[in-house]
């Protein structure tokens, strides 16, 4: 079966681990525990006619003192850039995070997940800001790790994009 390494990248506390937990185990954890290093999960999905095993690398978040480690990104086939729509600073850093990913692995398929849409009262982004999040030429999706909204489709889109990228390579 085809395996694809997918990295979850973002500022700390944006919900990367919760998105993976929701996607893989259909659970939402209310207790915040920061990730140290990388936690790895896997899930099989069907992309078109192909069965794909997604190896989900949940990277520890950028926290002001430590940046995303290029060594963790090495070999990635796709990236989910996660921002918290209730914290504008996490959205502002998406472009820089994309640059780090590009430097480490080149132009791999990536998607911006604007997470925590269930927190409607605290949502800080206008429609225009959402449309610009992460810069040009990037797919975006609004997600809630709590309710599951947008989660499945984000991973599914990326799985298919990694196959398209591979087909274009060959």
């Amino acid at each position: 079966m085809i395996q694809k390494k997918i990295c979850m990248v973002g500022v700390h506390g944006t919900g990367k681990t919760c998105l993976v937990q929701q996607f893989v185990h259909s659970i939402f954890s209310v207790k915040y525990l920061s990730t140290v290093g990388v936690k790895i999960d896997r899930k099989e999905v069907r992309a078109g006619d192909t069965d794909v095993t997604l190896m989900l690398w949940d990277l520890e978040g950028r926290d002001g003192t430590r940046d995303i480690s290029a060594s963790y990104l090495r070999g990635a086939h796709g990236v989910i850039l996660v921002a918290d729509g209730t914290r504008v600073d996490t959205v502002d850093q998406l472009v820089d995070l994309r640059r780090i990913v590009d430097d480490a692995v080149g132009p791999v398929p990536s998607i911006v997940a604007l997470n925590k849409i269930d927190l409607t009262d605290e949502w800080k982004l206008s429609q225009a800001e959402e449309a610009a999040a992460g810069g040009k030429d990037v797919h975006r999706v609004r997600t809630s790790a709590k309710t599951g909204e947008g989660v499945e489709s984000a991973f599914q889109w990326l799985a298919e994009a990694t196959l398209v990228a591979k087909a274009e390579e060959s």
Binding site: I27, S29, V30, K31, V36, G37, V38, K39, I40, G75
Partner: protein
């Protein structure tokens, strides 16, 4: 930068239990290539060859009472030893992309012990033997982690101690999903029941990795230690300028002084710039 690895493990029955069901393992996995004689210059040979290898560190806490629990944790540890033997020399081939194969083999080892325990105890009465397992395969600087149950792994970096593992217990699960508060979990008797164990009804190994830096320390331990020694004390001991043996013995002593109500196993690993 090259680093030296100093490690030490110790286990103790504690003050209450009648036997010791905890086990630990430290393995130096090494395959070296040494040029005995060559017409090539020293410059041409420099850094072309050298020793390639890693270290395997593990703790396991047997569940089931007496010999059954001991056998369960022994089984997990000896299976890891078999894994280490099989993988000697493989580190040449583990590229970043092939790391997933390494994880799969580690997980297969864990599942193999699980299935063996289940088969051996099918139809028997009483509590089936099971075990936790927390292990790190260190191929500097990368530390690969596989974890089942409520033993723990910590890393100390820049004066700060962080827990690498999450307890796989019923209480932790209930807190995570918001059904219980931490306080409720601390009082509820079933909170300590393992939600995942090798040989248990559920097995959900967690895998991960962390790149270590020179000066980092790592500690693996069973819950006999963490019942009596809190994170701040762990940080304090791991912050001492002392050998791994001194640190491990100090942590064990702290756990015994705190009551020693359970078996204890602890492994301390120090990395030092050479």
């Amino acid at each position: 930068m090259t680093v030296s690895i100093d490690s030490f493990g110790i286990s103790d029955q504690g003050k209450v239990r009648e036997s010791n069901e905890d086990n630990f393992l430290i393995v130096d996995i090494r395959k070296s290539v040494e040029v005995k004689h060559s017409s090539l210059s020293a410059d041409a040979l420099a850094n072309r060859f050298g020793s390639v290898g890693g270290y395997l560190f593990a703790v396991a806490d047997g569940v089931g009472g007496g010999p059954e629990g001991e056998r369960a944790s022994e089984g997990a540890i000896t299976a890891l030893l078999g894994y280490a033997t099989e993988t000697v020399g493989c580190f040449h081939t583990y590229s970043a992309v092939k790391e997933h194969e390494l994880f799969e083999k580690l997980e297969q080892t864990v599942r193999g012990v699980h299935e063996k325990l289940i088969a051996e105890n099918e139809g028997k009465r009483g509590q089936a033997p099971a075990t936790t397992l927390t292990m790190i395969l260190l191929v500097w600087p990368r530390a690969y982690l596989v974890h089942v149950g409520d033993s723990r792994a910590y890393v100390r970096r820049n004066g700060k101690v962080q827990q690498l593992t999450r307890d796989q217990t019923f209480g932790e699960y209930m807190v995570n999903i918001g059904a219980w508060t931490e306080e409720q979990a601390s009082r509820a008797k079933p909170a300590a029941t393992l939600s995942s164990a090798i040989g248990g009804t559920e097995l959900t190994p967690v895998v991960g990795l962390v790149d270590l830096e020179p000066g980092d320390s790592v500690m693996l331990c069973t819950d006999g230690l963490t019942k009596h020694v809190d994170d701040s004390r762990v940080a304090s001991v791991l912050g001492n300028d002392a050998s791994a043996e001194t640190m491990a013995r100090q942590l064990l002593s702290d756990a015994l002084d705190g009551g020693g109500t359970d078996n204890i196993a602890v492994v301390v690993v120090r990395s030092q710039p050479e």
